[in-house]
Amino acid sequence: MENLPEAFKLLVVGMLTVFCILLIVIYFGKLLIALVNKYAPEEVAKPAKAALKATPSAAVDQQTMSIIQAAVNQLTGGKGKVSKVEKV
């Protein structure tokens, strides 16, 4: 029972710390979102359009092409390019 004041102190300090850290994480997350949007917006549309021109038969629509391009981007870390898509 003599530890009770210490336990209450831990309740206050602990909860305040958890709230503060998560608030920092939340606001830092918002800052990160803003910074990434400003300085590193994704460029998916351009290669997709360029790649689309390379498929004269227009065998796939633009949306499918974008999806394929996005998948290739993710797998190759942005280094790969889709030059031709053919139906087999």
């Binding site: 029972m1 210490e6 709230f19 994480v25 939340i26 997350g29 990434v36 949007n37």
Partner: protein, 413 residues
């Protein structure tokens, strides 16, 4: 002939079982846990190794039960005293059995909890949390149970360190509970690990029970997608991939600066997540961390935790107090999350489903799955999984921070 029969009888476990029927209680517990894991599918990956560990630990003469060391490190086997801290690992394996070797090497050293956290990180997607950042605050509210049970435990006569280890069960995070207990009250590791993991596996029972008590049907039918349409989120994401790569690095740095004692957990969690988010360049490491390492760690952790549940260690008042206190911590954490949502709803136009507060305790992703099931039961179109994942994931960070605070305040007290 009679001598041979007597020796055969003594060779079997029957004589010990008749002399001490408490083993039968442990078999019943093991069978119930196995039933829940196999038939009811309550977290089978966790519950089945634990349950089987309980079973094999309780065969007299099998040497598969973990011997709990006292505060000074003394363990007693067959009337002979050993000091566990003076023994080498081969000596532990030889004198105390294989399970004690695994337990003292993998768990008591604090090796497995961060490894499991690394695997959890590799399997976690921070996308839902980043998309609903404001919901992440409920992960903090749900840590309330940890500290309230700490107070209750002190009133029940536990020391501060023991009470803190008991309270951390309310974080609903097995690795965090083990990690904190190793640092603060290693002699209680067995029952605390068992309570933490059993309640984590029983999340599908505990959350609906608490939600039923504190939430009305109207509250549970709050449709988050409709609320999003009424009050749209203005944040747009132009490059989620880059964001997801920077986020684990940033969170580790922030937590490391403010609560360094939580770094071994948060750091490993974020490392696992970073391997996942980088993509093809680290895909081999991600594959190893999320499959081979995580599965191996889960098997050994489950078996060892189960093996700590011997009849001698489990059937006593301290353990029963821990089991009850652990349940209270769990229930209080869920309740605190729910009431935080209710409080926010009083002032906010955009209403939040209280289930999102209930998932503020860790137990990722089961708590979210369970809450999604509850929501769809009331309204089949009301899928709250993504929203729940936000508070659920922040709950992991919250419980690790709470553990860090407890360790830094009490470790050298």
């Amino acid at each position: 002939m009679e001598e041979i029969l007597t020796r055969l009888y003594n060779m079997t476990a029957l004589s010990d079982l008749i002399a001490d029927p408490s083993y039968l209680v442990m078999y019943c517990i093991a069978f119930v846990l196995l039933y829940l894991g196999i038939v009811k599918h309550y977290e089978p990956l966790l519950l089945i190794p634990i349950a089987f560990g309980v079973l094999i630990a309780n065969f007299p003469g099998g040497d598969m039960g973990v011997l709990q060391a006292t505060e000074t490190g003394t363990v007693i086997k067959n009337g002979k005293e050993y000091n566990i801290w003076d023994m080498s690992l081969p000596a532990i394996a030889h004198d105390l059995g294989l399970m004690n070797f695994l337990y003292y090497m993998l768990i008591k050293t604090g090796f497995l909890p961060p490894v499991i956290f690394m695997g959890v990180g590799a399997l976690t997607d921070f996308g839902p949390m980043l998309r609903n950042l404001r919901l992440a605050i409920f992960g903090a509210a749900a840590q309330c149970g940890i500290f309230l049970v700490l107070i209750c435990s002190v009133m029940m006569g536990f020391t501060l360190k023991e009470a803190a280890s008991l309270g951390i069960i309310g974080g609903a995070d097995g690795p965090t509970a083990i990690f904190t207990t190793i640092k603060l009250a290693p002699h209680l590791l067995g029952p605390i690990a068992i309570a933490a993991y059993s309640y984590m596996a029983l999340v599908p029972v505990i959350i609906p029970m608490v939600v039923k008590i504190f939430c009305t049907k109207k509250e549970l039918m709050i449709n988050m997608k409709e609320q999003d349409k009424l009050y749209p989120n203005k944040t747009e994401f132009k490059n989620m991939r880059t964001l997801k790569i920077i986020f684990p690095i940033a969170v580790t740095t922030i937590v490391a600066i403010f609560v360094p004692t939580a770094v071994s957990l948060i750091g490993m969690l974020m490392f696992g997540n970073l391997l996942k988010e980088i993509g093809s360049d680290t895909s081999r490491l991600f594959d190893t961390v999320s499959n081979s390492i995580m599965n191996t760690a889960t098997v050994f952790l489950g078996l060892c935790v189960g093996a700590t549940m011997t009849s001698q260690a489990f059937l006593n008042w301290t353990t029963i107090g821990i089991v009850i206190g652990g349940f209270l911590a769990f229930a209080l954490s869920i309740t605190a999350g729910i009431f935080m949502v209710k409080f926010v709803n009083l002032f906010s136009k955009k209403k939040i489903n209280p289930l999102i507060g209930a998932t503020g305790l860790s137990a990722v992703p089961m708590a979210s799955r369970v809450c999604n099931d509850i929501a769809t039961k009331y309204d089949p179109k009301n899928h709250v999984l993504n929203y729940c994942m936000s508070s659920n994931i922040s709950g992991v960070i919250g419980s690790a921070v709470a553990a860090g605070v407890l360790i830094s305040f009490l470790q050298f007290a």
